[in-house]
């Protein structure tokens, strides 16, 4: 049992919702539109245990903060996408030139993160925890995805397998997820 197997039953509900939500969205009434959103309910409750102490574990970070590197990566579209295009993942290295980071995300106030990146991309704090021996290590790349994806089909079919592949390639053993 997995979430992918629950998609066929959910997709018609989503299609109905897109039609029902259109008039609300056209008037900018996102709250009303999402008030009738058919939440996806996956099958089963997956659970993986941490197999060793945190001080020996390699951690990976995922954020939905809308980050990209100016001049190197395509900026995110700041609004949710309703179509089936596979959502993009941007990679932010630990030693990124922070003056080149940009945020495109309509869902939160950027002032916090612009003042201190650690508000939703806590690279300094994780580095300190690594240096203090509280965690084994932090993966060299943070994975940035766009939040609020109403169409979960491309999320489940494309984005999550890609995230898993990237984490496995980085030998990530546990994931910290920080939404915005």
């Amino acid at each position: 049992m997995n979430d992918r197997s629950a998609l066929p039953a959910w997709q018609p509900k989503f299609s109905d919702w897109v039609e029902a939500a259109k008039p609300f969205m056209a008037e900018g009434k996102a709250k009303e539109a999402f008030g009738i959103y058919p939440w996806f309910s996956g099958k089963g409750d997956p659970f993986a245990r941490l197999s060793k102490p945190a001080r020996e574990t390699r951690f990976g970070l995922v954020t939905t903060g809308g980050y990209s590197i100016e001049g190197e990566q395509e900026p995110f579209s700041p609004f949710p996408s309703f179509d089936a295009t596979p959502p993009r993942i941007n990679t932010i290295p630990l030693d990124v030139d922070r003056t080149k980071l940009r945020i495109d995300h309509a869902g939160y106030d950027h002032r916090f993160a612009e003042e201190d990146i650690n508000c939703n991309l806590p690279l300094d704090r994780l580095q300190e925890m690594q240096d203090a021996g509280e965690i084994g290590s932090i993966a060299p790349d943070t994975q940035v995805v766009m939040g609020l994806q109403p169409n979960v089909t491309p999320l489940i079919e494309a984005l999550i397998p890609e995230l898993v592949a990237r984490f496995k390639s980085d030998s990530v053993e546990a994931a910290l997820l920080v939404p915005s």
Partner: protein, 77 residues
Amino acid sequence: MSLISRGLEEAGIPSVLVSVMKPLSSPSRPPRQLIRKLNIGATVGRPGDTATQLETLRRMVALLSEAEAPGAIDEGP
């Protein structure tokens, strides 16, 4: 993010989510979540508040280590 958390677990990678909006993060049943009374966009802690930022991350790591079953929630202060 809850679905990402579930997908990672399905692939054998334990995960933990910090949430400042429990009603939005809970319907999809994430395996582990830390609920914090913080702002959207400052989910780890406010600018310059190193102590709160560290507390959030330490509690996430603790929940990863200590949770015994899916649906684990730390809703402490």
